[in-house]
């Protein structure tokens, strides 16, 4: 471990992993600041889970390396693992045991005092249901018990793989609030993966975007979301004419029934430009709705901005 005061929570160097002749992770340089909430974004199959398994030492890299708080995962796995609590799979609990008993198994393996269970149960608001068998829990409750288990021993880094998967809106809101409060309450760094940009942008302070095994971009949420200008949904009194006008401009438009989708560039002022273009052509605007940005739109915008910069 280095002697300097600043040590990244996670640092990977040209991390690569090859499976069956295909690069699942194709050389990524992750940098996660301490006490950040890092949203690790990407579509399903983009390499997020493989990267997480490499960080946890569950897989060996084909190339490159991983450090967790300065500890090299390959050569000092135990020290690196002591810094980490992980929620990888919501169902990874023993159904025939209670929530309390499930936590107790991990607590014993970590050599922690019994009081630790009460602390983490309270943190995820599961104290009342802890004596019920996990087999009778809802998915949301399982996720929370999984999170509680990851929090045992107050690890400096929490790695959460798709923590909102399968949750209902209430469950998602609760989980989001719990995750958001973690750095302030426990001082932990949170690294959470997701395929939903909307979910991550409400929780994370930083984002890394994976695409086909590569880390396309990473940085502060505020900086990256500027790139993801929402597309526009437009309805007018004449969809054919709307398409004609947009085709004559620089905007790319597609039509679905009476709705026209316009792909926007990186500048939000373009929304007004499009509106003026259509109104000046004599069209009656009936709807002009910015669409929620998605991982795909962020990816497209990042690629566009890179091409423009080149």
């Amino acid at each position: 471990m280095s002697g300097s005061s600043y040590v990244p929570a996670i640092e990977t160097r040209a991390l690569r992993k090859r499976f069956a002749g295909r690069w699942a992770v194709g050389g990524i340089d992750l940098l996660v600041e301490p006490k950040a909430i890092y949203g690790f974004l990407g579509r399903n199959g983009s390499g997020k889970t493989t990267a997480i398994r490499l960080i946890l030492g569950l897989l060996r890299p084909t190339d490159g390396g991983v450090k967790v708080f300065g500890y090299d995962v390959a050569s000092r796995r135990l020290e690196a693992a002591r810094q980490v609590g992980a929620l990888l799979e919501a169902r990874a609990t023993y159904d025939h045991l209670t929530g309390h008993e499930n936590l107790d198994l991990t607590r014993r393996l970590l050599g922690l005092p019994a009081s630790e269970i009460g602390r983490v149960l309270e943190a995820v608001e599961m104290s009342h249901d802890a004596r019920r068998k996990v087999g009778h829990y809802s998915l949301g409750m399982r996720q929370r018990i999984g999170l509680a288990r990851a929090m045992l021993g107050e690890p400096r880094l929490l790695i959460l793989d798709e923590p909102m998967n399968g949750l209902d809106p209430d469950g998602m809101r609760e989980m989001r609030n719990t995750i958001r409060s973690l750095p302030d309450r426990t001082g932990a760094t949170v690294f959470l993966s997701s395929h939903l940009l909307s979910e991550v942008q409400q929780t994370a302070t930083h984002i890394g975007l994976m695409h086909e095994g590569r880390l396309i971009v990473q940085g502060a949420v505020s900086d990256l979301l500027q790139l993801a200008t929402p597309d526009l949904l437009i309805r007018t009194n004449d969809s054919d004419k709307t398409m004609q006008i947009l085709a004559g401009s620089d905007y790319r438009a597609t039509r679905t029934g009476e709705s026209v989708h316009v792909r926007m560039g990186g500048d939000r002022s373009e929304i007004g430009t499009v509106a003026r273009l259509l109104v000046n052509a004599g069209l009656e605007l009936r709807e002009l709705t910015p669409q929620a940005a998605t991982v795909e739109s962020l990816y497209v915008h990042v690629q566009q901005s890179k091409m423009a910069a080149a």
């Binding site: 946890l56 169902r91 198994l105 393996l109």
Partner: protein
């Protein structure tokens, strides 16, 4: 290591493992009781040899197969390996704990069988005295035979556990267990049986006991070697 072991035993609470440990030796004891009702006044030594023969011939290998599958599926079914292997604990300890648990459970089942046979004898003496076994129940003989069978089953137990832990599906360990038991039945009384891990416990009482010593030796040495290989392999394997 002790912590990993305690954790493994605590996982068994309320699982099918407990049921299996109670039912398997009880089946043998009940069957022996029914046989005794057909053949009055058998000598205890004959009853013990017959009961342990039945135990080692079929119930023990099938119980080891079922135990290995259940112990492995406790982790495979909920995909709990990732959680366990990411913990700051040496991985070999997790797998070694499983090995100790399976052999401890076989030992407990063997003890239960010895006690239940004695109980069946007592019940026959009370309810149908003419069918009760003759002579005194020889605890030392029961301990010697069942203890030897336990040690001889070490090799089979480690092979079964290795396969069960290696493969997420229960089909592989089940197939191997069934095939091993079948070979053991087919090779019964043959001198070559002592080379088949599933037949080693049978060799303690089979073929007039001539294969007992080699079966014990190979069962224990083979078991230890397989255990070490299993720990080395599973600890290094990617999860």
């Amino acid at each position: 290591m002790l912590v990993a072991l305690i954790t493994e035993f605590r996982k068994l609470k309320g699982s099918l493992v407990t049921v299996l440990c109670l039912v398997a030796p009880s089946l043998v004891a009940v069957l022996v009781g029914l046989i005794a009702l057909q053949r009055p006044n058998m000598h205890w030594e004959f009853v013990l040899t017959g009961a342990t023969g039945l135990w080692s011939f079929f119930v023990l290998p099938m119980s080891v197969t079922a135990l290995s599958v259940l112990l492995a599926q406790i982790e495979h079914a909920p995909r709990a390996w990732d959680h366990l292997l990411a913990l700051p604990i040496r991985r070999w300890k997790l797998f070694a704990a499983k090995a100790v648990v399976i052999m401890t459970l076989v030992a407990i089942m063997s003890l239960l069988l010895a006690a239940e046979l004695r109980l069946v004898g007592e019940l026959l003496a009370m309810l149908a005295p003419t069918f009760a076994p003759r002579g005194a129940y020889d605890w030392s003989l029961a301990a010697r035979i069942l203890g030897s069978m336990w040690l001889a089953s070490f090799f089979m137990g480690m092979i079964q556990l290795w396969v069960a832990l290696r493969f997420r599906s229960f089909v592989a360990p089940l197939t191997i267990g069934l095939a091993g038991t079948f070979i053991s039945v087919a090779a019964f009384n043959a001198k070559e049986a002592m080379f088949v891990p599933w037949a080693m416990p049978v060799s303690i009482v089979g073929a007039q006991g001539v294969n007992a010593a080699p079966a014990l030796l190979m069962g224990s040495i083979g078991g230890l070697a397989t255990l070490l290989l299993m720990l080395a392999h599973l600890s290094r394997r990617e999860a």
